[in-house]
Symmetry: C2
Subunit: 238 residues, 2 copies
């Protein structure tokens, strides 16, 4: 009876992964990268308020740990999340973390309000917009919610009428529909291949436009009409 009978997914491996996110600076990097875009090392350093050298070391660790993918261009080091699985990991984790404290400044409160209205969550829609769309799809039977989380046949057709062929959408082991906990609404919104396709369509069709450099979104007049007509979503408060 040795005392070291390992539980299978070795503790060390789990600890090594968690340690990557256990630092405040690295965590803030990953949260920033949740916007799905590639950032330069300098941008992230300024965001977190650390020296460039410090950021550089953190990025190397995150890349070595497989969480980030890097791409060197000239004298810039661009870095982004390594893939949807990583985005999901960060989302899941922050969904279980304690709710954020109230914003300090008026500016921050304003920015927070914009994010709460509508934003991207890696590659799908979130905020009140995201949950409102998800709710409407559940209500209209495009999405099944009581026995799990899956697109219905009607849902697949609905995407088809939008001009989005989900069958031909690129998917590896990624689920078609997935529930992602919204950290402002504290309720689920649509993620996965379908969520990403919907977000892409919304941006391509001009339903939403990005606000400044953040991942917050503004719903266009065209978008309001489309959402109202297609899903009956009231966008008055967005």
């Amino acid at each position: 009876m040795d005392g070291m009978t390992q539980s299978q997914p070795n503790g060390p491996q789990l600890a090594r992964l968690a340690a990557l996110l256990a630092d405040e600076t690295r965590a803030s990097f990953c949260l920033a990268l949740l916007d799905g875009r590639a950032w330069t090392a300098g941008e992230l350093a300024r965001l977190a308020g650390v020296a460039a050298s410090t950021a550089s070391e953190h990025l190397s660790r995150l890349v070595a740990g497989g969480l980030l993918a890097e791409e060197r261009q000239g004298r810039h080091r661009y870095v982004r999340l390594a893939g949807p699985q990583v985005a999901q990991l960060i989302e899941d984790l922050s969904g279980h973390a304690a709710p954020p404290p109230a914003p300090r400044t008026l500016r921050a409160a304003g920015a927070g309000e914009a994010m709460a209205r509508a934003r991207t969550c890696y590659d799908h829609l979130a905020g009140r917009l995201g949950t409102a769309i998800t709710d409407a799809m559940l209500e209209r039977g495009l999405l099944e919610g009581t026995t799990g989380f899956a697109l219905t046949e009607a849902g697949v057709d609905w995407f088809g009428r939008l001009g989005v062929d989900l069958a031909s959408a690129p998917r590896g082991r990624r689920p078609m529909a997935r529930s992602c906990l919204d950290w402002t609404e504290r309720r689920p919104h649509l993620a996965g291949v379908a969520g990403a396709a919907l977000c892409r369509h919304a941006l391509d069709a001009g339903w939403c436009v990005r606000i400044g450099t953040q991942r917050a979104l503004r719903v266009s007049e065209e978008g309001r009409r489309a959402l109202s007509g297609l899903l009956g979503v009231r966008t008055a408060d967005l």
Copy 2:
């Protein structure tokens, strides 16, 4: 333009949560507790090979962080995962961690083989047994897998015929059906309320019995007949 424009789910919160799992000893505690049962502080200390005092401190941190629930009984301190959300968190995280290295000893290899055949994963079935059942349910249309992960009407009926009324099963915000990545098979198996109900039924009906003190399971003769008849699952290699 302050450099500290926070991403919303405050980095610090995420880091604090991750830090709880970023220690090898604490990680091994959590993985052990994935069997869904309550362990005493001493058992966990011996498992991880640390002094009782060290284990005590780790447990206090995990409890304070909300990952573990404790229950004092006489001179014992029993501790278990705080709930299914926590179990899911650990599962998700270890699903993304690097695969475990090959076992060192023959004993360990044997125990690993037993775990790979059939085991519990917090409160549902896993291992080859778990994935075989899930595959069969997908094949028979009891479970929807191509557009998400949800129980079909036929699936709800199937549970009803087993004598399991899912509508009356206790569920808070917990999803009815959820996909959980199996770390031996590297494929999904059924979790969530339905997965837990199935596991409970399998144990109650004597389809499976626990092997020793581990979370490995043995499929009984009765269980083989039931699984073969109900789902066409071949249990020859289990």
